[in-house]
Amino acid sequence: MSELLTMCIEFFKTGLFAVGGGLATLPFLTQMQEKYNWFTAEELGNMIAVGESTPGPIGVNMATYVGFSSFGILGGVLATLSLVLPSLIIILFVAKAMNAYQNNPLVQNMFSFMRPAVAGLIAAAGFSVMKIALLHQADTFLASINWIALILYAILVALMYWKPMKKLHPIVFIAMGAVAGILLKM
């Protein structure tokens, strides 16, 4: 019981200090692995693989997996809630402040500078996903191109801009990707 509490405190700390989301939680998990015997380094590696390919935020996936494999279903739920609690509290305060100051010219100015930059940040995130999905390990750039993936990518983008399919839910395209992946043995 006290160990379950320790785990909740550890995930609360992770949620509080991991700034920037996603794999920002990784250093904290590595530390946790060294300090407690809740999971091995190998299990952490598996967790990252599962967390990166299943839906949902990676940090949440990891918390659920660690909590569940050490303490069962209750552990999974508590670890996840402990992880999100700090940001939930902080964002509620920030959202309240934002409501009060959103018409302030200084704040509006600040966001007008941040928005184009965040568009660039999202493009960078897309770029790093593309590197994983469309390239494989090779010595030269030309040899590293995964042509099957690249052609599938081009077809999917074209379909998304095609009028009859434009309004379809993203799940349709995700399902197409999964089916193509299995059929083409990607």
Binding site: G15, L16, A18, V19, G20, G21, G22, N46, A49, G51, S53, P55, G56, P57, I58, V60, T64, Y65, F68, S69, I73, G76, T80, L83, V84, S87, I90, I91, L92, V94, A95, K96, L106, F111, F113, M114, R115, P116, A117, V118, A119, G120, I122, A125, G126, F127, V129, A133, L152, Y153, V157, M160, H169, P170, I171, F173, I174, G177, G181, M186
Partner: protein, 179 residues
């Protein structure tokens, strides 16, 4: 009550379909939050992302809390946050319970390789839309390119980019408004 249910359902869908975490949720957010329910504009989403970049916690959770709070106050924030994490909790628990070596199955790996390509395509379309609506002037383009280079090529933390933009806005804000 219905709003709370809608919030939970919308963020549950987003959580269930966001492969790759973080910004990969953008296409779903746009569809559910901006187009379908009109709870926030795409500009507001970018504001939330900017703040989420400098506050602790996962971007997806931060964005859910923001949108939920805007729609229905504190309880809305809590419900939206629970909605976005519930699918992962269920899915990961099932994976941990049923299949120890889930990722070793060949067709699962193939399917995920295909899904990653689809996610790339979805993000590309969203990013193009985002640039069209938010990157209009020359200095916008400069900021976007610098942000991309700093994070994608120099591998620095996005936090620096957001903080630098805040500082720049205090120095050049008035000039830009006049221009």
């Amino acid at each position: 009550m219905k709003v709370l249910f809608d919030l939970f359902r919308a963020f549950f869908t987003i959580g269930a379909l966001t492969f790759g975490g973080g910004y990969a949720m953008l296409p779903m957010l746009e569809r559910e939050i901006v187009n379908k329910h009109k709870w926030a504009t795409s500009e507001e989403l970018l504001n939330y992302f900017a703040i989420g970049q400098c506050t602790p916690g996962i971007i997806a959770v931060n964005t859910a809390t923001f949108v939920g709070y805007k729609v229905k106050g504190v309880i809305g924030g809590i419900v939206a946050t629970l909605g976005v994490v519930t699918p992962s909790m269920v899915i990961i628990t099932i994976i941990a319970l049923v299949l120890e070596n889930f990722m070793d199955i060949v067709w699962v790996q193939n399917a995920f390789a295909g899904i990653r390509v689809a996610v790339c395509a979805l993000i590309t379309v969203s990013v193009v839309k985002l640039f069209k609506s938010n990157v209009k002037q020359h200095w916008h383009i400069a900021l976007a390119i610098i942000a991309f280079v700093v994070v994608a090529l120099l591998k620095l933390s996005p936090v620096y980019v957001v903080v630098a933009c805040a500082v720049l806005s205090f120095i050049f804000g008035k000039k830009v408004q006049k221009a």
